[in-house]
């Protein structure tokens, strides 16, 4: 990659300390995001996607804490930034939109008041300029009759409208990086498509870099350039989007792909991954995915594989691709199969 790297996360570790017990929600996550590109962070519920995102802006709530690693944003390690430095970055250079559009806006302030606030803190815009810019932003995110909408309270807007307002607010100061944490999960399918398209368009128009968090491979296909697949607080596969779909290496990635509905196959043929995500309280010692993996061997149960190069395109955390693989050589030869 010769492009400028805007965000370089190295071995990020974030834990929750509950009753003297350390819940390792994010356990050594690394990825790089080139400027102007979109990286998808994919994984099932509980794999640590949101906590990774919140760690970047240091928005973790007690008892959560970053316990190790680096988050280099334009060469500046955010884990070491002062409160004041991180505040001047939040909502300004890095913005975030959340999973829950219905509850993410403050119910007692109008849309305009909430957008103006961001403009005031970072750009010192007064009431009138703020209002003007606010209307412009609402127009940008495709809200009809922005002049009226800006005076309304969140409860007067639908979920899709509220998420648009959140996006408008996030874009207020032309951020270089937008973190979108499952921006469409809570919305209707048609609205989902509109919001994703909006983010795509705006990214091209404004040249933002985007972290798109989702558990939906379909969303990845539509929006991302790179993909980090997370499982049990770790990245298990990292590759560009084409490679992920054409030549996935990790059995979990393959499982995710096999469970996407496609119009040309019957729903009955879908193969959801058996079992469920382990709770961080009793993580398996070896490969986190071993209890659910169809290829798991004794080695997998006992020792955690590293995230290593498998080909020029993929970084994979799986024993299948190592010298020490003690399972079926057939699998090593052909890799796990996509059935869809």
């Amino acid at each position: 990659m010769s492009e400028e790297i805007i965000l370089d996360v190295k071995d990020l570790r974030t834990s929750f300390f509950v009753d003297d017990f350390e819940v390792k929600a994010v356990d050594g996550v690394s990825f790089k995001l080139p400027k102007g590109k979109t990286i998808g962070i994919v994984g099932e519920s509980g794999s640590g996607k949101s906590i990774t995102a919140l760690s970047i802006l240091r928005l973790l709530e007690k008892p959560g804490k970053i316990v190790g690693g680096e988050i280099n944003f334009k060469g500046n390690d955010l884990t070491k930034a002062s409160e004041q430095e991180i505040r001047s970055i939040r909502g300004n250079e890095i913005s975030m939109i959340f999973q829950e559009p219905m509850t993410s806006l403050n119910p007692v302030y109008t849309v305009g008041q909430q957008i103006r606030e961001t403009l005031k803190v970072h750009q010192g815009l007064g009431k009138e300029q703020g209002m003007e810019k606010g209307v412009e932003l609402l127009k940008l995110v495709g809200i009809p009759s922005p002049q009226e909408r800006i005076k309304q309270y969140p409860h007067e807007l639908s979920g899709g409208m509220r998420q648009r307002v959140m996006i408008a607010m996030a874009l207020a100061c032309n951020p270089e990086l937008l973190i979108a944490d499952e921006p469409t999960t809570a919305l209707d399918v048609t609205i989902q498509a509109q919001i994703l398209e909006l983010i795509n368009e705006l990214q091209e128009e404004l040249g933002m870099s985007v972290i798109m968090i989702t558990h939906d491979m379909g969303v990845v296909a539509e929006t991302c350039d790179y993909v980090a697949v997370m499982y049990g607080g770790k990245v298990v596969e990292y590759a560009d989007v084409k490679t992920i779909f054409k030549d996935p290496k990790h059995p979990y990635t393959v499982g995710l792909l096999n469970s996407i509905p496609r119009h040309d196959i019957d729903v009955d043929e879908l193969e959801p991954i058996r079992g469920s995500v382990p709770s961080p309280k009793n993580m398996p010692n070896g490969c986190r995915f071993a209890p659910r993996c169809p290829f798991a061997t004794d080695l997998c149960m006992e020792e955690l594989p590293d995230l290593g190069d498998v080909s020029d395109e993929n970084l994979v955390r799986c024993w299948i691709y190592s010298e020490r693989w003690d399972g079926d050589p057939e699998v090593k030869e052909h890799g796990p199969k996509r059935t869809t």
């Binding site: 939040r90 909502g91 509850t103």
Partner: protein, 306 residues
């Protein structure tokens, strides 16, 4: 908003009508002939009858009630049966004393309660939080006449810093306001704390932080305004208790207010004064609740105005 207030004012009419019926019945159904009491123990029967006639006590009850209602509507309650002074002359000075006591106590409890509750919530489980909640529990469980007597013992008798009785000078005001306001402060502190703790974990607080706002702004602009919504209701409810508590506090500190007046005149069967006093208290109570409702709506934009 304006329409809402007007509508609420109209809704007050049946409530106040109910109050007049209640006050009237309580006075007229309780035993003891006022004419007897006014005339004195040893007065001859003819004097008693004369008095009864003059006061209209021989009229049928509905007629007496109608006369009372007429007084209410014209805001003229006539003269006291006890002192023959106009009821308003008797009432207003006492009313202002109690009103001041109630208002100062409310302000005191809101201020203290809010500040203590916010500190507690923002530093949950800290030493400050634990001590505040302990003191609040104490304030809540202490009967206010007892608190009043303890304060008096310490600050008036032992230390001699404050005058034990009366009302008017700043020194005289301190102890009664503290006595009457403590319970409310405790309730408001607890309510504010739990409401703040609830609000602080809401998604929109995270949004506010994600915008790059200072923690102070997040707490005071984004969290507090939401947290106040349930607290406002509590303040309204407290006020009712406060009026009742004022009567006790007045008697502890020998303050010459409504409480003392009403008690004295009930014993003296001074119907006009008692009826007017209770009615005034009811009106104040009802209006305070109206103010609470209006501010509730003002704070909580999710409620439609009807």
């Amino acid at each position: 908003m304006f329409q809402f207030i007007v509508r609420r004012l109209f809704q007050l009419i049946p409530v106040l009508l109910g109050v007049t019926i209640l006050v009237f019945s309580l006075m007229h159904l309780s035993p003891g002939n006022p004419a007897h009491i006014i005339a004195g123990e040893s007065a001859p029967e003819s004097t008693v009858q004369q008095i009864e006639e003059r006061l209209g006590l021989n009229d049928p009850i509905p007629v007496q009630y109608a006369n009372f209602l007429k007084d209410v509507v014209t805001l003229d309650f006539g003269n006291s049966w006890r002192t023959s002074l106009p009821v308003s002359t008797e009432l207003w000075p006492k009313f202002w004393v109690t009103f001041e006591l109630a208002i100062y106590s409310t302000i005191f409890s809101i201020f203290l309660g809010l500040i203590a509750g916010i500190i507690s919530a923002v530093r949950q489980y800290s030493v400050a939080d634990v001590s505040i909640m302990l003191v609040a529990l104490f304030g809540l469980s202490m009967p206010n006449f007892w608190l009043g007597l303890m304060l008096m013992q310490w600050f008036s008798i032992n230390l001699g810093w404050l005058p034990p009785t009366g009302w008017g000078t700043p020194e005289q005001i301190i102890m009664p306001v503290f006595t009457l306001g403590t319970m409310g402060a405790a309730v408001i502190a607890r309510m504010t704390r739990s409401s703040m703790l609830d609000v602080i974990t809401q998604d929109y607080i995270r949004t506010a932080r994600a915008k790059g706002l200072k923690e102070k702004v997040v707490i005071y602009r984004h969290a507090l305004k939401n947290a106040l919504i349930p607290v406002v209701t509590v303040v309204g409810l407290q006020f009712g208790g406060l009026l009742a508590g004022a009567v006790l506090t007045e008697s502890v500190f020998a303050i010459n207010g409504m409480g003392k007046l009403v008690v004295d005149r009930i014993l003296a069967r001074d119907f006009p004064v008692v009826q007017a006093a209770v009615l005034v208290m009811a009106v104040v109570f009802v209006f305070v609740n109206l103010i609470v409702d209006v501010s509730y709506k003002f704070l909580n934009k999710r409620i439609d105005l009807d």
